[in-house]
């Protein structure tokens, strides 16, 4: 029994759509659950402010939900588009697109839940700071969503690029590896960005006078926390847009697949770690505003050291693409 390429495209599209939505649903659900738990705790502490806490819980959950809505969109496209191609590279591109968006939604979903939960708790402690807390929750959550938007971009590029002229070996590994690089590298930065924003919301509710400084430091910390996801995006772009000559060997393909896995998995730890480092800085600046300079300097040094392992992963990924 012979199966043609359209059969395999359909198989890849439906399985990839399922994996995409399955993975993509995890993070948002965890983040929203955390927000709801914190909102309940907040209302039990201060029932008089329950209306505002309830409202900010729903807003926070809606932002966390957006990551899994991206995954839903990509899954729908995979299920209901009739993909046509003459090269089997497209089969792997469809699989890569599903994995990119599925993994990419996990971090942002979990991360966005943290500031929303902390804002709810903060409103029970300092009802007067409600507006400021809502603003900071929105800023923090929005930055948390950027890694999942990177993944969405890569998923769309993989879905709608024409790979017909590329030979199967080793290009199947390049497109599949690009999906893994973008998807996995988004996990750490999403969670890390959320931890930073959480401490910012908590700090504002404890010492409202520190709001301005602490918010600046939060944005600085979140920006650096995004860098591992940006390194993953960079490797994904190189893997997709560089044309690899046809080969009879299998090792070049596995070098490209290894490159995607290396920067993808390697970016998770530094993303979370930089988030933890920066959350410590933001937390203690709001409690000890006088020593903002000392704490910021130490925070940046600590984050730079945590970044070093992501740089090692980038070096190995680039060596796998360009040298071996």
């Amino acid at each position: 029994m012979e199966y043609d390429i359209n059969f395999w495209l359909k198989i890849a599209a439906v399985s990839s759509g399922g994996i995409c939505m399955g993975l993509g649903a995890m993070g948002a659900a965890i983040g929203e659950g955390y927000t709801a738990a914190m909102a309940n705790e907040a209302i039990s502490r201060n029932p008089n402010n329950s209306g505002e806490i309830f409202k900010s819980m729903l807003v926070g959950q809606a932002i966390a939900e957006s990551a899994s809505i991206f995954a839903l969109v990509v899954a729908m496209i995979l299920l209901f588009t009739n993909f046509e191609a003459t090269s089997f590279v497209m089969v792997w591109a469809l699989l890569g697109a599903g994995l990119a968006m599925g993994f990419g939604a996990i971090g942002s979903g979990v991360g966005s839940g943290f500031p929303a939960g902390a804002a709810c708790l903060g409103m029970s402690r300092q009802p007067a700071m409600g507006n400021k807390l809502t603003t900071n929750m929105l800023i923090g959550s929005a930055v948390c969503q950027t890694p999942s938007i990177f993944s969405l971009v890569i998923a769309f590029i993989l879905l709608f690029t024409n790979f017909d002229l590329r030979p199967l070996w080793p290009n199947w590994a390049a497109v599949f590896g690009a999906g893994l690089a973008a998807g996995l590298s988004a996990i750490g930065s999403g969670i890390g960005g959320g931890i930073v924003a959480k401490e910012n919301c908590e700090g504002i509710s404890r010492s409202p006078e520190s709001a301005g400084t602490a918010t600046n430091i939060m944005l600085l910390g979140q920006a650096i926390t995004q860098t591992p996801a940006i390194l993953g995006l960079l490797v994904a772009f190189i893997l997709i847009f560089r044309v690899y000559p046809e080969t009879e060997l299998i090792s070049p393909a596995f070098a490209l697949l290894g490159s995607g896995l290396c920067i993808g998995i390697g970016a998770i730890g530094p993303g979370i770690g930089e988030g933890i480092a920066s959350s410590g800085g933001v937390k203690w600046i709001s409690r000890n505003l006088k020593h903002t300079g000392d704490i910021t300097r130490l925070m940046l040094v600590g984050m730079a050291v945590a970044e070093s392992t992501a740089i090692y992963a980038l070096v190995i990924a680039l060596v796998l693409i360009f040298v071996v």
Binding site: W169, G188, G192, E248, L249, I250, S251, A253, F254, A255, L257, G258, S259, L261, C262, I263, G264, I265, G266, I268, G269, G271, I272, G273, E274, G275, I276, A277, S278, S279, G280, G281, K283, W284, I285, R287, N288, K290, H291, D294, I295, L298, M299, V301, G302, M303, V305, A306, S308, T309, A310, Y312, A313, V315, I316, A317, V319, L320, V323, V324
Partner: protein, 82 residues
């Protein structure tokens, strides 16, 4: 497509190098972040000892970094030696 033994070994070594550095980067990244977060806390509580605390943080992070460097060494060995 004919599969040769040396080609297969190289393919496995390349995939292994990617996995070694990728997985090996998770632990040091998280651990060094925790060290930095606690150092920020310590300076927040006791700003006078900033120099001592920074030194301790860096030494601790360097030790935590060592496992990342082991991964880097193994990845480079897999790429260029084996």
């Amino acid at each position: 497509m004919a599969i040769e033994g040396t080609d297969l070994v190289r393919a496995a070594a390349f995939l292994g190098a990617g996995l070694a550095m990728g997985l090996g980067a998770i632990g040091p990244g998280v651990g060094e972040g925790m060290a930095a977060a606690k150092a920020c806390e310590a300076i927040g509580k006791n700003p006078k000892e900033a120099g001592l605390l920074t030194r301790t943080m860096l030494v601790g992070q360097a030790v935590s970094e060592s496992t990342g460097i082991y991964s880097l060494v193994i990845a480079l060995l897999l790429l260029f030696v084996v």
